[in-house]
Symmetry: C2
Subunit: 157 residues, 2 copies
């Protein structure tokens, strides 16, 4: 008991805060709001990695195989997290860029997310090989998966 | 030429924006500011996954082996991204929670980040096995890696 308490006290404060009840912290965001915040953070992390890959793929920045491959790996890791961040509890939340149509076409939305996951995984594999032409082609495949979903389900792009 | 242009036009707007020069977009954040935003997004993504693991590890939420293992996997993927987000160009930026001491003790800071990467990788492996006691112990190992860095290099926790 006392050792378990000592462990608890040794935890970083962010962990303690995460386990407080919502009644104890009146201004605590709801689980749904936290999920939306998570989703937006993931898009930020995605863009950080994807942007320079786009510049390289378009020849606006010199192609750096190692940097391209590392970013492709990150994109492939973030994509499944993104797919997990559209829980039904976030439906109707303000400040979301998701069009309401996504909830009426959930199977199509999920298929588009799966495309992103699958294509970014393929991109990470190809990028590792260092074949510039194939890596760039795989990048555009992935970018088109982004675009297909944005065009249909994102309020503005 | 025309086919390359067609590909470019088909890209999502966020990609086009990422390749615009800073003179074209006066209010564009600097690379350093973008990296800090990336870092903060990663901490948000980390907390989303780590928080419920902490509640489970502390017995405040029922232990769900599959959910714990998935979150452990996410934490293990985010940790190396975090380590990449402390580039020297972010030194001295306002709105950072990093203490200036981190720059004077860079080797120690990097060693602490490596601890996080290594321990979260071990946590993800153990969590996959489904052994609750070992998974919880590995969780506290990882939480202590968070805490060691926060205590020394985070402005407030």
């Amino acid at each position: 008991m006392s050792s378990s308490r000592a462990i608890r006290l040794a935890l970083p404060l962010f962990l303690v805060a995460a386990t407080l009840s919502t009644t104890a912290v009146a201004q605590q965001p709801t689980k749904a709001e936290q999920m939306l915040k998570y989703r937006k953070a993931l898009y930020t992390a995605m863009a950080w990695n994807f942007g320079p890959m786009g510049a390289m793929a378009q020849g606006k920045m010199p192609y750096n195989a190692a940097d391209f491959a590392l970013r492709a790996q990150r994109v492939a890791e973030i994509a499944p997290m993104l797919a997990e961040s559209f829980g039904p509890e976030t439906k109707g939340l303000p400040n979301s860029e998701l069009k309401p149509e996504a909830w009426d076409n959930r199977a199509d939305f999920d298929a588009k997310m799966k495309d992103l996951v699958d294509r970014s995984a393929a991109l990470a594999q190809v990028a590792k090989s260092g074949d510039e032409a194939k890596a760039k082609a795989a990048f555009f495949d992935t970018a088109n998966a982004c675009k297909a979903c944005h065009d249909k389900y994102k309020k503005k792009d």
